[in-house]
């Protein structure tokens, strides 16, 4: 079935939207990351204040630039996707580094020095301003679209970090509540899947259901007040973002073509593909497919190759010397173009004619053969006596 799929996929209009999809996957990764960061405890966030985040922003520049200016540098779509994925990989690595640093720092005591907060806040603000300028610049350039998206990812990330700083500031103003030590569990707790499932859906445990039972009753049917499942809600928001981006992409930025234009592009690509194939066929001519096409350029090309390779044995005017005479009607190994082609290609070792297939391309052999046959009926200076059998003169094919 892959035989069907791949060639078809290549001809699909707008197939570079897959690049957009992989981008959105990474976008989703960062949103998840943001959510996790959002829920970090104040102690962790305090530790983050010691991080020189401005430095991280500087590291992000190369990735962004690479991704979004790819088309300025004339990168093809394939290379561009590679560049994008590379930069996404770089970002992921950076984030992992950031996470491990945070983990490490959270083992330290929180820094009570408020001054540091202001400093990193200022740095954060400056950075987001810089981001805004950059965004504006990209928005105005015509490679904008995917660059905009990448830039947006960064913006989201830093906004998230800023929000956290804000939260920690607010938290640090409120009296800290003592975190009560967890009571030793009396019974076996929920298994790992249960816990994952519960976290995913923000379930209230079944045993605590009564707490969220609403006072609705309809013919005995009751209703619980569970939260909207977070993954569902975020998925919903994501779909709205995708919808907006899609409309923006196709109808405002017109980065990808709509049906009429997409058709023209697909037809052109199809045409090019067919042409390339046919040309490769022509280039792969062999002794069964060669035709006698008496064209000026072939004869000229054949003559120059003949002069280079064949005159030693066959004389410059084809009259023959060591090798036979080409100007008469007698041929040792057949007088059709296919037979002449075959002789040049494979040689006739027992007669001293060497093989040329390692020296000449199929088209070159064809042109030499064409030249040789065009010598029929000419008058050489010192013709060798006829050898072989008579053949009727070959008729050139219609081109």
């Amino acid at each position: 079935m892959m035989r069907f799929i791949r060639p078809f996929l290549e001809t699909l209009p707008g197939v570079n939207v897959w690049g957009l999809i992989s981008l959105l996957i990474f976008f989703g990764f960062f949103v998840t990351l943001l959510w996790w960061v959002r829920r970090m405890r104040p102690a962790h966030v305090d530790a983050m204040k010691n991080m020189p985040l401005a430095l991280l922003l500087l590291l992000g520049f190369p990735g962004m630039t690479l991704a979004s200016t790819g088309s300025h540098w004339g990168m093809s779509d394939d290379n561009w996707i590679v560049a994008l994925l590379t930069s996404a990989g770089v970002l992921t690595a950076m984030v992992l580094v950031l996470l491990s640093v945070i983990k490490h720092l959270s083992a330290l005591k929180p820094n009570p020095n408020r001054g540091q907060t202001d400093q990193t806040d200022r740095a954060g603000t400056l950075n987001s301003l810089g981001m805004g300028v950059l965004l504006g610049a990209y928005a105005l350039s015509d490679s904008a679209f995917y660059g905009l998206i990448t830039a947006n990812i960064f913006l989201m990330m830093y906004v998230g970090v800023l929000l956290n700083m804000l939260t920690s500031i607010v938290n640090s103003m409120k009296p800290r509540e003592e975190v009560a030590p967890a009571a030793a569990p009396a019974e076996v707790g929920p298994g790992w899947w249960e816990r994952v499932w519960q976290k995913l859906n923000a379930h209230v445990e079944l045993s605590k259901e009564q707490d969220i039972l609403l006072n609705h009753a309809y013919d005995g049917i009751k209703e619980l007040d569970n939260r909207l499942p977070p993954w569902w809600l975020q998925g919903f928001y994501l779909s709205i973002v995708v919808a907006v981006l899609y409309l923006f992409n196709f109808h405002i930025l017109k980065y990808q073509p709509l049906s009429g234009e997409a058709y023209e592009e697909a037809m052109a690509a199809h045409h090019d593909q067919v042409q390339a194939y046919l040309e490769s066929l022509a280039l792969n001519v062999d002794e069964t497919s060669v035709r006698y096409l008496l064209a000026e350029d072939r004869i000229k090309h054949g003559r120059s190759l003949f002069n280079k390779h064949c005159v030693a044995c066959h004389a410059p005017d084809g009259g023959g010397a060591l090798g036979p005479n080409f100007t008469d009607e007698y041929w040792l190994h057949g007088g059709t173009i296919q037979e002449v082609f075959k002789v040049i290609k494979y040689g006739v070792p027992k007669n001293g004619m060497r093989s040329w297939q390692k020296d000449l391309s199929p088209v070159e052999i064809q042109d030499v053969a064409t030249f040789v046959m065009s010598l029929q009926g000419t008058n050489p200076a010192q013709p060798k006596e006829p050898q072989g059998d008579p053949y009727p003169p070959a008729v050139p094919d219609q081109p």
């Binding site: 013919d219 005995g220 209703e223 619980l224 995708v242 997409a262």
Partner: protein, 712 residues
């Protein structure tokens, strides 16, 4: 506090439940018939009333309006009374609803095989029946709404919101899509033409799925799952959010049936993006249904009713993910016009609607008959047979759809199509059609088993026609109640809820249809396109009568493989005189949009008489009556006049008789004579008054206006 004593009407529920079962069997049997006809075309039996083209709409109408329709009424009448703690407002209206609806179904069963059809999918019934549907729907709505107004349960449960939204939206959809100009008692022409007709039709068609097959069933799900499992609904908040999101977003998604067609690009994009946004609201319903069963999963293992409901809701989730994915243009490029769409439809129809109906019937019939289900074992068997039947139905068709699409699109390296003969792609998938017949048979067998089981249950019990209940009457309340937030307040304002729902569902339709109707650049004029001649018009009506659009599309998409196979892709301006449009939605046979001048007249003659004579192995039915019957030209003049009223620029007086036949009829005769002469040259003897002559005229006209403007 004094309690009112009142009685729930179970008689009407019983009536609708029995009708659901009977029409379920009928609809599924017709479905099995048409599925079998694709594998064994002999089953068309050379009878006009049994051809695939005429029976397929009978299948769709029967399963949607007769099976699901009666299921809706059965469930709504049962649940609504109990959720509102009152009897239906009017027993008489209930009876009119019941008998009126059955009469509509019977008239469909009679008119569709006779060829009285508008050709518009799920709206094939002609205008007198459309009027009847409107009246009965109003009766239903009136009864429902008055019941709501005289309720004893102050707040409206989520199921009721869904019922209200269903009522208003179906009313709007049906009325707007049914704007048609009658020509006779059994024939009308769509008010809209071409691109606009396509948009209105699929705004209707998609939202018939949304508001007839989905929202009322979501309402039923919200009632029957908690009742059957004795569990509270998982999340009240989720029901609010997904209800409003669903009814708002669904309306916009109609154009996803028209991707890569002549519909303007902006409308197609709206269809795509709103379909993607629809995943979450639909899944909200699935989640609320499945998560309500938390804590009851051990009972699901044993109780067949809960099993039916779980599969139903899961199938709903699958279909509402697949649908949006099929609305992405890249995937739609593969799936459109293939059996993939059919598979998708049946996952939803058999999985969601069918299984939930079965679960509901198994639960409610023993209850109203005051007895136990006759055989729980048989119900379990039914469950497994039905579930397997769905798999055997859908999986072969996925394979078939994908295979056929790939075969259509394949090019040889030299640039020609690998499978230039369309028939080759059909023959390739006939084994899958056979497997699907197995799946459908299993599903029908399960339904027969259920009908026996429930009939035995009914026989073994006694109907509690009027079930006593009591509840205090509702005192009216001014302003907000204590702690009542906005939506909770809205839940006791049914009129406002109805108006808000109406406004919400109107937005999408207006946003999409108004620009398409009013902004001329959406349908660029092509000067070479002229109206159909009278003979061609008659031929077109024959095409509609025989249901040719059920197998043949008339919409060439802008893909290299399509233009290579069929000719230049279809432009919007070519369809301006097509009342109704005939773009089709499935290619069991090849696209016909540029059929004109492709074959000689005699080819068409032989092909209609016996398709296998021109296409060996063809599964198309034979149409010998087209050659035997004379064309009825009684209505030709009236048709020309009707078309002119609809905006087709026939010359004034073209259809007027003064002393002799009208100019229209004379032109008809002249064109018919010309065709007969050409047929004669090819050795075909045919009188000029036969129906086949008109059909040939129509087929030979198709697509030729536009191609005349193209360079050779």
């Amino acid at each position: 506090m004094n309690n009112d004593v009142f009685h729930y009407d179970n008689g009407i529920v019983r009536n609708f439940a029995v009708a659901t079962m009977i029409w379920g069997l009928v609809g599924m049997l017709v479905g099995l018939t048409v599925a079998s006809q694709l594998v064994w075309p002999e089953l068309n039996a050379d009878l006009p009333w049994l051809t695939f083209g005429r029976l397929r709409p009978l299948h769709t109408n029967a399963v949607i309006f007769a099976f699901v329709g009666n299921g809706i009424f059965a469930g709504v009448y049962y649940s609504m009374q109990r959720l509102l703690k009152t009897r239906m407002w009017s027993d008489a209206l209930g009876k009119i609803n019941f008998w009126g609806w059955q009469l509509i179904i019977v008239s469909a069963a009679l008119t569709l095989p006779m060829g009285y059809t508008t050709s518009k999918e799920y709206a094939e019934l002609e205008w007198p029946i459309d009027i009847a549907i409107t009246l009965i729907w109003v009766v239903f709505g009136l009864n429902m709404f008055m019941t709501i107004l005289k309720r004893r349960e102050r707040h409206l449960y989520v199921a009721i919101w869904f019922y209200i939204a269903t009522f208003v939206t179906v009313a709007v959809l049906h009325v707007v899509n049914s704007f048609e100009l009658p020509v006779s008692l059994t024939k009308s022409y769509s008010w809209y033409a071409g691109v606009q007709d396509a948009l209105v039709q699929w705004w209707y068609g998609h939202n018939a799925v949304a508001f007839f097959l989905t929202t009322p069933y979501l309402g039923l799900m919200y009632y029957f799952i908690p009742k059957a499992s004795n569990r509270p609904i998982y999340s009240y908040r989720l029901s609010i959010v997904h209800f409003w999101a669903l009814i708002f977003i669904y309306i916009w998604a109609g154009p996803h049936h028209l991707l890569h067609t002549a519909l303007p690009d902006w409308a197609q994009s709206l269809g795509t993006v709103f379909s993607v946004m629809l995943i979450a609201p639909s899944w909200g319903g699935m989640l609320n249904g499945l998560l309500t069963l938390r804590g009851a999963w051990d009972r699901v293992r044993k109780d067949p009713i809960l099993k039916f409901m779980v599969v139903a809701v899961s199938a709903y989730g699958m279909a509402t993910l697949e649908g949006p994915l099929l609305s992405l243009k890249n995937i739609n490029a593969i799936s459109h016009f293939t059996d993939w769409t059919i598979a998708h439809v049946h996952v939803g129809g058999l999985g969601w609607n069918g299984m939930l109906t079965f679960g509901m019937l198994y639960w409610l019939i023993p209850r109203i008959f005051q007895t136990k289900l006759h055989s729980e074992r048989a119900a379990n068997w039914h469950f497994w047979i039905a579930t397997l039947g769905i798999l055997f139905y859908a999986l072969p068709l996925y394979w078939a759809g994908f295979t056929q699409a790939m075969m259509w699109k394949q090019f040889r390296p030299e640039g020609m199509l690998t499978h230039p003969n369309f028939l080759e792609t059909v023959l390739q998938i006939i084994p899958m059609y056979a497997m699907r017949v197995v799946g459908g048979t299993m599903y029908l067998a399960g339904a027969i088993l259920m009908t026996w089981n429930l009939w035995a249950t009914m026989k073994g019990g006694s109907l509690l026609r009027n079930e006593e209940a009591s509840a205090p009457a509702l005192a009216s309340v001014e302003g907000r109640m204590q702690g009542e937030r906005f939506h909770r307040w809205l839940e006791r304002k049914p009129t406002l809820l109805l108006i808000l729902s109406l406004v919400v569902i109107l937005i999408g339709g207006v946003a999409e249809m108004v620009p398409t109707m009013l902004v001329e650049s959406n349908v660029p004029t092509i000067d070479a396109v002229t109206p159909y001649t009278p003979l061609e018009l008659e031929g077109r009506d024959l095409y509609i009568r025989e249901g040719c659009n059920n197998c043949h599309s008339q919409m060439i998409r802008p893909f290299p493989d399509e233009t290579e196979r069929y000719g230049p892709y279809s432009r919007a301006g070519e369809f301006v005189y097509d009342h109704p449009f005939l773009w089709g939605s499935k290619r069991t046979g090849p696209d016909l949009q540029r059929e004109g001048d492709r074959y000689p007249d005699s080819w068409h003659f032989y092909h209609m008489m016996d398709p296998e004579s021109m296409s060996p192995g063809s599964i198309m039915p034979r149409y010998p009556w087209l050659i035997e019957h004379a064309l009825d030209t009684e209505l030709t003049n009236a048709k020309i006049e009707a078309m002119r009223t609809l905006g087709v620029p026939y010359p004034e007086g073209y259809e007027v008789e003064n002393g002799g036949p009208s100019q229209a009829l004379r032109d008809l005769q002249a064109q018919a004579d010309a065709i007969v002469e050409r047929l004669d040259k090819d050795g075909v003897k045919c009188a000029s008054d036969r129906e086949i002559v008109a059909l040939i005229a129509y087929l030979q006209r198709l697509g030729t206006d536009f191609t005349s403007t193209q360079e050779p």
